[in-house]
Every structure is written in C-alpha cells, then in structure tokens.
Symmetry: D2
Subunit: 343 residues, 4 copies
C-alpha cells in the first residue's frame, strides 16, 4: 500500500523533475545570484503575490529558512512569540536558540496563535525591562502543525495585534500550498504578502526535490538575509536548482494544482474514515489528517501505510497522522479507507 | 564558449541525474534516516575508505558540512587551526564564529597547513592559559584553495603533529575527488580515513546536484553530528536524494572517473597556456588552474569564459582562475587555449 | 522606613567590608588564580561542603554563574529542564539561548521541579530523536523563586530521577544561605555537594558586595569552567576580591549567621502580617515573603518600603514581595508590621 | 620589593574605597537603574566628556564591556577590524566569536590600527559580497597593548577612515586614564566622545575595585546595551557600587591624578633603566613599560618584582613588562632600578 507518512516521501513532481533534466547542461553562476532561472522564479513569485517591491530569496530547506528569517529579524536579546507546538519550538532541535535567540511560546492549544495569548506573553515579557527577553516577532505557520488553515479574519486579527505591539510577522509557509488551496481558506498570497514582514513558500512538501522561497518585505531582513543564509549554511552552490524548480512550480499554476490535489486526497480520506466511524483529532482542512485510534488500530495502520503516531491520548489510544502529497492517488485513498474500515 | 567559472556551474552528471529520475517515485522515510539509498551509499563509502566502523553522514552543502563538523568537534572556547586562505576563514561569512568558535589562522602562504606554522599558533594560543582560545582541531582541505594536492608525506606530517598536540584533524574534501585523482597525488581514501577524525567527500563540485558525505571516526562527532546537522539546518527532508546521488557516484567508481576527467581537462589547459607563454600562479595539479595575467588579458578572458579574478598582483596584473568540471570537454579546452593565445 | 525591596539593596556586611579594607593594599596576582585569599576561601568552602575533590571557582554574579555552568555542562544541541518560573527561564534576558542552549520548562507551578513534570518533558523531548533538543541537565534553585526551601526528601527525589535519566544536576544557590538556615530546611551543604554536578553559593544576596562561589564535581565542567568564565566575561581581574569576601563569610560561619538573621526578620514579618489578617502567597520559609493584597494596600506598601509587585491576581489584587537581608533589623520589621496593619 | 606585575594587583585607591565604606549602609535599587550614585557618576562623566546626549552605562569588567559593545554594534554576520595584538583578538578567549561575531585583524605590528592596513582588510572582506564577513566596526585601544598613546592626528585619521567606509568606532579605554595623562598625549575625553561611536573608561586598572564606564553615542548601542549587558552577565546586581566608585573617581579629577601618578612612576622607571643600559621595546609613554632583556636578567626581575614575560625575541632574550599603578611609589621605582642595574 502507498505510504501516508509524509509529504516529503517522494521525489519531485514530474514537471519539476523534467525542468531539472531539461536545464541540467546549462552553465550558470552559482548561489542564486543572478542566474536566469532564479530571476524568472523571483518574478513569477512577485507577480503571484502582487508584491513588486519584495525581495524573493531561496533557501535549501525549512529549518534553514526559519532560522535565517527569525534570527535575521531579531536582535540578540529579542524573542519570537509562537504557539507551543510551533515547529521552531519543538522540531528544530533548538535551532533558534543555536542562533542565540529565544522562542517564547504562548498557551494556545490549537496551533493558531491568538492575539489574547500573544498579548499575555508580550505583557509578561515586557514587564521587567531589560531583565527579560524582548518580544520582537511573531511566528505563525499556515497550515498549522495540526493541519489548520488560517482564515483571513484570524490572520488579520493576529497581524493587527502584532502591528499594535510593533512586532514583525513571519509566516512559515512550509505547507502554504496546501493552506491556500484548502476549502477552509479565504486568504491569498497577495494578502499575506501585504501584511507579513516575511513568509516562506514551501517547495519541499509540495512537489519540489527541496527548497523554500522566502518573500521579504522587511527592510532589515532584506539586508541581512543574503549574508545570514550563507553564514548559516543555507545557501545552495548550484543555486539555480532552486530557481529552476520554483520556475516550474509557479509557471501555469502547477504549485497550486499539486497542493489542491493533495488536499483532495486528504479530505476524501477524512470523509471516508469518518463515514466508517473514525474520530478526527482537531479540524484539519488540508493535506494532513489526524485521528484518534486505539493502539491496536494504530499499530495496524502504521504497519500498513506508515502513518505516524503523534500524541498519546490515554493508556490505549493515540493520535495518528495521515499525510497526502501530489503523488497520492485517490485510488490509494480508497485502498486505505477499505483497509482501515476492516480493522 | 564554455564557462570555466566553477565546478558547480552545471547540474549533475548524467548517471547521477538518471538515478534521481529512476528513483523519483519511490517512497522513503526522510532525513537520511534509514532509507535504502542512504544505507547503500554509506556502505559503498565505508568500503571505498576501508573503514567499516566509521559513521557516514550526509549534509546539504559544503559550508554546512564544515560548520557542523568543526563546531561538533570543538567546545565553546576552543578553536581550529588552519591556513589564512582556508575556506572557513575567508569564504563562509564567519560561519564558525556564528557557531561561537574561533578560527586560528597560521601564516602559511601556499594553502598547505604546515607543522611549523601550526606549532607556532599552538604555542601562542596555549601560552596564557584560559585567557586565550584553546586549539583543539586542525582544518585542512584537499585540494587546497589554490588547487594544491596533499602528498602522503605532507599529510602524515601534519597528522603526526596534530596527534602530538592532541588535536583532532578535519579534512575538507569539497574537491577530494580532484585531489585523489591528480597526477600529483599519492594518498588514498583509506589512508585519509585511517588518520582523520572526520573528512568530507564533496558531491557538489564533482557531479552531484548537491551534497557532501562526511566520514566520521571521532567518537564525539559521531554522537553530536546527527543533532547538530539538524539544529544548524543542514539536514535534508528528502534525505534519500543524497543517498541516491552518492550511491550512483560510488557505484562502479563514477566519482573518480568524473574527477579524473576534470583534472585531465584542467591540466591540458595548464599545459596549453604555459606553452603559449602564460604564467601559472602556484602549483595546481587539480581541476582549478591559476594564472597571472595583465588586466587587459584578464578582462578579455573573464568576458569570454567567466573565469574569476582572485588576487591583485600589482597595478596592472592579477590572478585569474579557470575551473574544469566533469562537464568540460577537451574541445572546450582547446577553444579556450586558442582564444587566450590570440590575446 | 527601611526598604524591603531586595537583599541586594545594601553594600556588604561590616565584617566582609572590613576584610576588603584590611587587605586593600596587598598585591596579588589576578583572576582568582592562586592568590592566598581565593585559595583559603576555596579550602573553607570545600571543608564546609565536605567535598575535598571538588573544584571551587568564583564568578562575578548570578546570571554569569548560571550561564557559565549551564553552557559548560551542555553540548550545543542540549537543553536544561527547569520550572517555568526559573530565573534562567524568565529573568536573565535569554542568557542561556544567547549561549546557544535551550531552556526546557516543565509545568510545575510552585517553583519546585518535580520528577513527574521533568519526566514528561524528558519523554517529550526524547520522543523524536535528533529533531528535538536533547535534555542533559536539570536546574533547580534553593530557595525557589517563591522562597520555597527544598527538603532533603524532595531534593533526593529529583536527584534520583535525574540520575535515572543520566542528566546532570545544577543547583542555583543565589539564596542558598537563606535556604539552609530556614526552619523548613533539613538539607546541608555536604549533602548537596554529594549529589549535585555543580552548585553555586550566592554571595551577592547574603552580605557580599558581589560574587558567587561555584562548587564543581562534574569532570567536564571542571575542565570547561575556567575558560568559559573568561570567554563569557564573568572572570574578575582583581579576583582576590572574591576570595577575600568568601574567606570572611565562611570563616567562623558568618555566612550562615547573616542568612539566619535575614530569615528571622522575614519570618517575624510573615507572622506579624498574618496575625494582622494579611494573606500569604505560597509558602515561603526564607527571606522573601509574598502576600496577596489589594491594589490600595499594595500601592501604600510599595511607596512606604519599596516592596515589589510580582503577579496580578485579579482586577484589584496582586502579589507583593518583601525581602529581608543581613541588614534588616527586627525593629524595621515591627515598624513595617505596624504600618501595614494600619492600612 | 613591590610587584610591578599589573595595574590590577592592588585593591582600590583609598578615596574610592572610602566612598564604598561611607555609602555601605545606604539602600538603593539595583542594576545601575536610577540609584543616585550611578546618576551622579553618569553626570560627571558626561560633563567631563562634554557629551550631554551620550548614554553612560556601567559594566563589571573589561572583557564584558568589550563583548557587549562589540556585539551590540554588529549584526550576526558582521566583523570588527582591529590590530592583531588587540585584546579582543588575543586575550579574551574568543569572547567575540562566542557572541557569534568575527574579529578581523590587520597586519599592523605596533598596536596602532592604521587606515592603510584597515583599508586592506576592508577591501578584502568586501570583495566577495555575502560570502565574507562584512566589516562594520573598528576597535582601537588607548593605550595600545604595548603602552602606546594615540595622538589626536593619528586618532582623527583612523576615525576619518572609518567614517569614509561607514564603519562604527569603538575605543577600548581600559587604560584610558593612563593614555590621556601621558606626556605623549594631545587627545582629550571630549574629542574622543565627539568621534567614537562608543568608548569605555576603565576603572579596574585605575584605582577602582572593578568596573568600566561606557560612553555611548551610537543610537543602536544605546538601545541594545541595557539588554545585552544583562543577557551576557555583565550587569551588577548592586549596581550602585559602580556608581559610587566612578563618582569618587571623577569628583575633583581623582581619576586623572591616579593615572598621572602611575605614568610618572612608569616613566621614571623607563628613564632609570635606560640610563642603566636597558633596551626599551616599543615606545610606551604610559604606565606599562617594555624592555628586551636576557633570560638571566628576565628571570631575576620576574622573581624580584613579578614583571611578566611577553614575547620571545631570540633563544636567549625576551620582552618583559613592568606596570605601575596608582599604588606604586617613586621609592619603589628607585628600588627596582637599583636592583635591575646591579644584575
């Protein structure tokens, strides 16, 4: 059976891979510095985001993108407010601390950073002057760690709050494709670009071999990014590979089609499992789907399709995650539903 | 005319690219953690280096490999001894300092770290106890920044010295393929593996899209590498891409054939230019060739083939560099010699 | 009225100051390296802690002591488990992150790190291999941030747990004098020294002008401390000042007498206020006393004696803190009780 | 015989110590935040430097002052240009790298940073864009490591150059008192304050128990200093001790008198030794004096007066250093000259 383990289990979408093959013999300068593919990809992204004055940069991966952007927008003693389950707080081995900056988690339990919780952190952290890390940035991810999709109303509310406190806003878009093509979504790239100080557009999890594009409005990050991405090891020597892939992804809207397809599979999986009595965990409208299952069922599914265990619920139940990608087929979904329903 | 700018101007060698295409639809776990391609590549490299007990890890690029290995072998207050032109001292935007460690350059002028110069640094740095950064590692690169190839005698001498001072040894092998296939070479992978605490085998500059393999003997680095490579953003989500490429490169000796070919082109270029009166700079036996030229000739060559300017010699002369890769053809070399000789 | 703001509001205890005056004209080498006062202070502390093989080092202040010890016992990707209100998590401006290490707070609400809560953090942080910061150290402080005093039973329980997980143990003893002379205490210096990897003995808050002594059992910290304390700016040029002060403090038990006196004042204050209807917050048996008061009463007390506001309870109530020191007199306490009771 | 080892061998000048005794029982808030002594010291320093708009901050020691100021004026990927013998490059255990920043030494051999050498470093470091650490600051010290005193002409030249390259200027004034009271000097505090982005006024080496004052013109450092000094452990809890001491030192010009006296002794020592055939090393006009001596003479002097060995000249000769302080007496100098001349 097809694995539903992750959206980085396969290689690249065929069109992206073909672009790499087609351009393989070209000779270009390195480091994303002015090769025609990076330039064209930059233009395509700026057009898609209707943000002609933004810088578009490229980074080799998601952790690298996050640590470069976060540290590039913070002074040494400043911190970034995020939810407790944020990728930068949990799954990046302390990468932000390794850059000398502090992660300041709220108590938001659903993966969405809320103005109220963020305000509590801000008040606490600014209540003792220089004796405490000063918040200067918020980090949100769309989709959230639990597959949640930010609505425009929710997004504007946290952006408004951040502005009111004079904080920058960074959106981790590792799964931004899935977010913006979800039925739950009413945001678009241009609106995000109009409000975020910087945001990433994930390639790794949406059909590229690797790579994230970063859209930068913030003047300080525009200046610091090129240096920090090199200093932190996130700059690719054959930089044009990033350009070639994002060019292929953003030409003709392939990026959105791949993401929409992954969502379609994931939502079909959700509906099929729910119809068969499975209990969803959280409320994901995107390509990751979470369910509470007994350990017996979890073990069987894990063995069959590689789905991962996420949280323990009680002594005999846990949360598992299925992930669909551009490569998943609806027939794979049907096969999984049938298998799961027979357990 | 073909560019002679760098060995990362093209994509991947056809066999490597084909391996990526052939395996594209496979589903594997991520992060180089146990997918069959990474496992097989690890075995091939361990066999080639005759070092069954070494760990073999992968990293997305050269700066990343260097900063992970160097910081992984140093305590906070320790430093790494290297030549002043070392890549970590010059061209990595302070990446070692960004990890909190200190680079301790000698006064070696030819790119080879010498025991005498290293001893002077060591004596100086250990002459005032805790008030000075303590040396704990030496960094050498084969080939050197000027294309020099380490002989076994020279290599053993610096390793002997490092051992006598209880220092670890790290070999940056970004161009190790070119080094070990040079006519000037009498080292082999197994001998390096028998003496170095860790060394890298560069893929980026020898026919891969990207990626470096790291061979680790040092017990401390074996433990720290997996964490630090993640924390520093050097771990690839679709980790098997590194395995697939190194598997292709080390199966049947492709890696060495590609490097030998680049050397052949570079040495033909050297001989052709020398025969036409060009004056070499340094003594490179590898795929980078350096020449002292007038600015007029330098400008013309730079425009024609993208060769880079390296050092200024005097008001009207400079050092330029030509680089050959697996993709260079001998006919390209002939064309360049003809062009240059007519200047 | 005397201020009850802090235990670092005054200068040094008269005996300590006199020792500085008496030795002022002596000439000694610097940096705590072998002057007779540091040596004698080291001996006195080793004797008091019955730990002849421990290293005793000195540091200029509490934040400095914490960041040197914590970073000196952690690798780059490791973290320290502590309570959420721990000084290193809240009031040191991200000093641990500034050293590249991660603080891993539990959900303990009372200032005491509990094995259960620490185990939950440990399980969570070790559940995803290298993708998460690895815990390697626990941090506790005696007294706690809320004035709590560790009992031997509680202390042994957390030490047992830490040992079972192969973690080091660090005790921040900024107010260790107050802790070990509290009526609530059944620990002693020797027992702490027998179990902690390292702990500090605070001078700043118990009668010295400044300075903390650090008792180190851990072999790694023994090696790294001398370098890191210099590298991080925590080493005093006129190092003997630390020796002179700790010598005066530990000769004849002055250190314990000063602390016991501060406790006596604080407990008299507590009893007097409780007798007059004030409501304690938490359960402090040491020189800091916390009360829940109305804002009206809080404002009046703050103005009168400089007590600080700590937490907001509700729209009209807050927690305030009174601190007594070696310099507080029982008559000051009586005056404050009388004033407070009239509000 | 009196030691001539260092200017931090004794305690505090009597007037400074008396001020500490006189104010010992006062109760003040901590952390240099608004106690009357710090405020008064700030005013006195601003008046002395005729710089009413500068911030004046305090730090516990010289390494701490340097690392806070340097890192506070640099972004993560920026570096500081200095001479190779600069304290931050040699004797602070990599403290700048520990803050993630890079030290960029010139090839100046005499301790004075020259515009020509600095320009060479600047050109080199800016010749390859983001691949190299970007210089953003120059560091000079007055006096230099070899006791050299900056003239106004020399100082203006390096400041002019720094301005022309848009670099900030930091002056390490650990021995600024000795510099500005030297016969070789034609600078004054006001002129330094009119040109430097920030500079320190050393207390440790000129009659205080410890402590440096920092005068800050730079807007960025004004904002960052208060946080970084805390984060890096350089903030004193009983902050008023710094205020009390600098108040005593700058009231009535004591600071300059102490320094002038140390200089007088040192120059008498120089003249006396030269008259007896000793060969000076370098050209110090301040409180440190360097001589080339045979090892036999060096050993005898080291044993007699604690003078330190600095450099080896050849197999049988070395450079030794004598240091005078506020506590040295002319009779001590005479005794030393007599002793040395008899060797």
């Amino acid at each position: 059976m097809r694995m539903f383990m992750n959206d980085y289990s396969e290689g690249a979408a065929p069109q992206v891979l073909q672009a790499l093959v087609d351009t393989n013999a070209e000779q270009t300068v390195g480091y994303t510095e002015g090769d025609p593919h990076c330039d064209r990809a930059r233009d395509l992204i700026r057009q898609a985001a209707r943000t002609p004055h933004a810088d578009v940069e490229f980074c080799i991966g998601g952790t690298s993108a996050n640590l470069v952007c976060v540290s590039g927008m913070l002074r040494d003693y400043e911190g970034v407010i995020c939810t407790p389950d944020a990728h930068i707080n949990v799954h990046e081995t302390g990468a932000i601390a390794a850059c000398g900056r502090t992660v300041l988690p709220t108590d938001d339990a659903d993966g969405f950073l809320s103005p109220d919780a963020a305000e509590r952190v801000w008040r606490f952290q600014t209540g003792c002057g220089r004796h405490m890390t000063r918040p200067a940035l918020i980090y949100i991810s769309d989709t959230t760690e639990l597959g949640g999709v930010w609505t425009r109303e929710r997004f504007d509310a946290i952006c408004d709050w951040a502005e009111s406190r004079n904080l920058r806003t960074y959106v981790d878009g590792a799964r931004l494709g899935s977010a913006l093509t979800s039925p739950d979504n009413d945001l678009d790239l241009a609106h995000i670009a109009s409000r975020a100080s910087a945001f990433s557009i994930g390639g790794t999890k949406n059909g590229l071999l690797f790579g994230e594009a970063i859209v930068i409005n913030d003047a300080q990050l525009k200046e610091t990014f090129p240096y920090i991405v090199k200093e932190r090891g996130g700059l690719l020597a054959k930089g044009r590979l990033l350009g070639v892939q994002f060019e292929a992804a953003f030409q003709g809207g392939l990026y959105w089609k791949l993401a929409a397809h992954a969502n379609e599979c994931a939502l079909a999986l959700r509906d099929g499992l729910v119809a068969n009595g499975f209990k969803p965990y959280g409320n994901s409208g995107s390509n990751q789907q979470f369910f509470v299952v007994s350990d017996r069922v979890g073990d069987a599914l894990e063995k069959a399709c590689g789905c991962e265990s996420f949280y323990r619920i009680d002594a005999t139940h846990r949360v598992i995650r299925f992930v669909c990608s551009w490569a998943t087929e609806l027939s794979d979904v049907d096969e999984l539903i049938e298998f799961a329903s027979a357990l």
